[in-house]
């Protein structure tokens, strides 16, 4: 089980990377409007693609 000494910190680092990506996405405004995109999935491709 010694490998855990390496794996756990690595796992936490990977988690950190994802948090970083989330922060980036938030700063870009991807999470500003959560309601409209939810409705957009019902629309045909021609509309969704245009945006």
């Amino acid at each position: 089980m010694d490998v855990l000494f390496f794996l756990v910190p690595t796992a936490i680092l990977v988690a950190g990377v994802f948090v970083g990506l989330f922060i980036w996405a938030t700063r870009k405004g991807q999470f500003d409007d959560l309601e409209t995109p939810a409705h957009k999935i019902l629309l045909d491709d021609e509309i969704a693609n245009r945006d």
């Binding site: 936490i12 500003d32 409007d33």
Partner: protein, 815 residues
């Protein structure tokens, strides 16, 4: 003497058609003849929308709408002549739009957005309106951002949107406030993300230790847990520190205080224990706590953002085209009403709303004052009379000299005093506040006593400290902090979807505590417009159809409300009985402003005007005269809504005493009161705006239901003010609640919803208190281990959460 038609058309259900566009029952049909079939619509507005969509090949709209099953939420499209020309004016563009080299962007608040089909249609704007480059809709706020090219005209875009039934209001949002709000939202989201990541990982590590990891591995995991909680303590939990600090400064005991104590003490003692090698670590419980609470607060904030804030609403006021005389160009130009100045000369066309207070220089017409004074009958005005902003000019164009504009107008002053009064409106101490106060003080006292007691009884500092500390953690008002905002948020959201917009959560609790309700008559309990109630053909020489046809021929050219009511009624009867009107040719047709119409048909002189003979009921009687003899008598009244009696009775049953407060005369008010079974004490008539607000001051637990500016002050002063289907802009500024669907039923719905919500909250509070009492007992007795704490806390939170969600399902059944 034949007496006909006492029922309103549409009430006998045999011949029921439904509008192709909005699904409403059709009473007066608008027909569209297409290649293969005739389509029926309830009004011209709906018909126009259908036509436009059909011609541009956008029938997909109906497919999408039916797929998402939101058909029953539509309401008929309103006809409007508004040309939106003010949107093309340079002054306006400079103030309201963002410009780039090749394009202009503007934000519109769109009325009537409620489903995917609306989203689809509005974002498809570039496809069927020329020069539109981009159109993006934010469904939560109903704000569409439209970009047009250099050669585009915003007026065309707005007109097109309005024709489709989506009335646009340009909004001027304060860019700085908006930016700050957005920044704050994003920061909150990041805090939650960090809290979640750290909490999740800490839990993983902690559970492996509970599961049996030991020795070197366990030590490592525990240290990782410590480092993982640091981001939470130093970043994610900042809102709690801020809120606890301001609570302490204002000497309030809020539930954030124990949370902060738990966090700080927990982390420090955890660090101490870590160094000593003990296993009493509570990092997992604390981290989860922060995450859950932050998440709940974020959801609450988001749902509050679904309505417009006050800065955005402020720009609503007077979004109208006005025709101002330009001395240099010697013609009238179209500008936005907010750019009017005193001494300007304007033309108020028939059908338009008066944009400012002024003096009539030329013209004779009738004015509808109902927004300002509540009177339902039009008032005649002519040269040297004053007219006021907010009223509607009915028949003929008027040339007016502007005296007061904007907030100096009578309407503006009313709104200002309403908004000034907002600050004085008592904020209730909510149930949650009360519970929090007692709870927090009890917990701290108990913790302190436990510490002292155990210390003296057992003598072990560590034991005493642990027990006191676990007491604080385990009674952490996670459930308390969650259940109230959650239940309130859900209610706000559900009601908003049904067109009942409540400004903040405190109002729900206020509604449930109200003892009385004062309702305005015109427009609230009644339909607010004239409807024909009796039709008597005095002579038998002609058929009823002939009588109706004559009246229709004469009245169809007039814009007076009585004329419109008569024509609507006639068309409805014909539709119902499948008859076609006879057409007549009229020579020397004359409209006598405010008095009636006249003309010659087939050699006989016909007039329609007020019946000379006095009838002592409170109805308005007009008559069709043939060569000075009465051949038809028609009565009109502002009819009580059919569901009014039932709704009032239901409200009374819930323990809220109903009463009518109206600016109208004694007769009509008494009549309505008797129909609603209200006693002598429960109605007042000819009440002016001042008196209305005095009345409300005397009844501190009363709900006020009204509309327009004439009720604005009263609405602002009331314990709870409810604005009914009227003008969006004015209502939202004065009232706590705005009901966009017409009728009295929504009033009942919001009261029912508020009582149900409070029931759910109380129930959940009791359950979470039970949890806390159990947990506290166990803590004092020393049975709470880190494992138990880590299990119990999320458990209590989740049970309360699920209970809240399940209980609010009942709200769905309230329509």
């Amino acid at each position: 003497m034949q007496t006909l038609h006492h029922n309103q058309p549409g009430q006998d259900c045999e011949h029921q058609e439904h509008c192709e566009h909005c699904g409403e029952k059709v009473i007066v049909p608008s027909l569209l003849s297409l290649k293969d079939e005739d389509k029926i619509f309830c009004c011209n507005g709906c018909k126009t929308v259908y036509q436009i969509l059909h011609e541009k090949g956008l029938d997909n709209y109906y497919k999408l709408r039916d797929q998402t099953g939101t058909r029953d939420q539509l309401s008929p499209v309103e006809d409007s002549d508004e040309e939106y020309k003010y949107l093309d004016q340079q002054e306006f563009l400079d103030k309201y739009t963002k410009k780039t080299k090749d394009s202009v962007t503007i934000d519109f608040f769109i009325e009537g957005v409620h489903c995917v089909a609306c989203l689809w249609l509005i974002e498809k704007l570039p496809d069927f309106v020329e020069e539109v480059l981009h159109s993006k809709l934010n469904m939560a706020k109903s704000i569409a951002s439209v970009t047009i090219g250099k050669n585009g005209k915003l007026s065309k875009v707005a007109k097109q949107l309005a024709l489709l039934g989506y009335r646009p209001h340009p909004i001027l949002s304060d860019a700085d406030i908006e930016r700050l709000a957005k920044e704050e939202d994003r920061k909150m989201l990041i805090k939650i993300a960090i809290a979640f990541t750290c909490a999740g990982n800490i839990m993983l590590l902690a559970y492996s230790v509970y599961g049996g990891a030991s020795g070197e591995l366990a030590r490592h995991f525990n240290w990782y847990s410590f480092f993982l909680i640091l981001p939470i303590i130093f970043y994610s939990a900042i809102p709690f520190y801020q809120s606890a600090w301001s609570a302490i400064k204002s000497r309030k005991l809020s539930i954030d205080i124990p949370i902060v104590v738990a966090l700080v003490v927990g982390t420090i003692s955890g660090l101490v224990n870590l160094i000593n090698g003990s296993e009493h670590l509570y990092f997992d419980s604390l981290a989860t706590l922060v995450f859950l609470l932050l998440g709940a607060r974020y959801l609450l904030k988001k749902s509050q953002q679904k309505s417009l804030n006050t800065t955005e609403i402020a720009s609503f006021f007077s979004n109208r085209t006005t025709h101002r005389w330009n001395q240099q160009k010697q013609q009238y130009e179209d500008i936005h009403a907010q750019f009017l100045k005193s001494q300007d000369i304007i033309l108020v066309k028939s059908g338009e709303m008066v944009p400012a207070d002024g003096l009539i220089l030329d013209g004779v017409s009738n004015i509808n004052n109902s927004l300002l004074t509540g009177e339902s009958l039009p008032v005649k005005v002519e040269k040297t009379d004053y007219i006021y902003s907010g009223t509607t000019n009915l028949d003929q164009d008027l040339k007016v000299q502007v005296l007061n504009t904007g907030s100096d107008t009578r309407l503006g002053k009313i709104l200002q005093s309403v908004e000034a009064g907002w600050n004085q409106k008592a904020e209730i101490v909510t149930l949650a506040d009360n519970v929090a106060r007692y709870f927090v003080s009890t917990v701290f006292i108990l913790a302190f006593l436990t510490f002292i007691a155990i210390f003296f009884l057992i003598g072990n500092f560590e034991d005493a400290f642990t027990r006191a500390f676990t007491l604080i953690i385990i009674t952490c008002p996670c459930a308390l902090g969650l259940t109230t905002p959650l239940a309130l948020t859900m209610t706000l959201g559900k009601l908003a979807k049904k067109g009942m917009i409540i400004k903040n959560e405190q109002i729900i609790e206020k509604l449930s505590k109200a003892k009385e309700i004062f309702l305005d008559k015109t427009g609230t309990l009644t339909h607010g417009n004239f409807q024909v109630s009796d039709w008597l053909d005095v002579d038998d020489k002609m058929t009823n159809l002939a009588h109706m046809s004559l009246v229709f021929a004469l009245e169809s050219r007039s814009k007076h409300p009585i004329a419109k009511a008569a024509c609507k009624y006639i068309k409805a009867i014909c539709f119902q009985e499948n008859q076609t009107l006879l057409t007549y040719e009229i020579t020397d047709y004359k409209e006598h402003a405010g008095r009636g119409v006249s003309g010659t048909i087939n050699g006989k002189q016909y007039e329609i005007r007020t019946l000379a003979k006095e009838k002592n009921d409170s109805k308005t009687w007009i008559a069709l005269y043939e060569d000075k003899k009465v051949i038809s008598e028609i009565s009109l009244e502002d009819q009580l809504r059919s569901e009014a009696a039932e709704v009032i009775a239901a409200i009374a049953k819930m323990g809220i005493k109903p009463a009518i407060v109206s600016g109208d005369a004694k007769g009509p008010v008494e009549k309505v009161a008797s129909k609603l079974n209200l006693s002598n004490q429960d109605y007042s008539y000819q009440v002016g705006p001042e008196q209305k607000s005095q009345l409300l001051d005397a009844h501190p637990a009363a709900i006020m239901v009204g509309d327009g500016a004439n009720d604005a002050i009263a609405l602002g002063r009331a314990y709870v003010g409810v604005a009914v289907h009227g003008s969006v802009d004015i209502s939202l500024r004065a009232a706590d609640i705005y009901l966009s669907q017409s009728g009295v039923r929504p009033i009942l719905s919001i009261i029912e919803a508020s009582k149900e919500t409070m029931k759910v909250i109380k129930r959940n509070l009791i359950i979470s208190l039970l949890y806390n009492v159990t947990g506290a007992t166990l803590a004092i007795m020393g049975y709470i281990t880190p494992l138990l704490a880590a299990v119990l806390m999320p458990l209590s939170s989740f049970t309360v959460l699920i209970l809240t969600l399940a209980s609010t399902r009942k709200l769905n059944r309230i329509n």
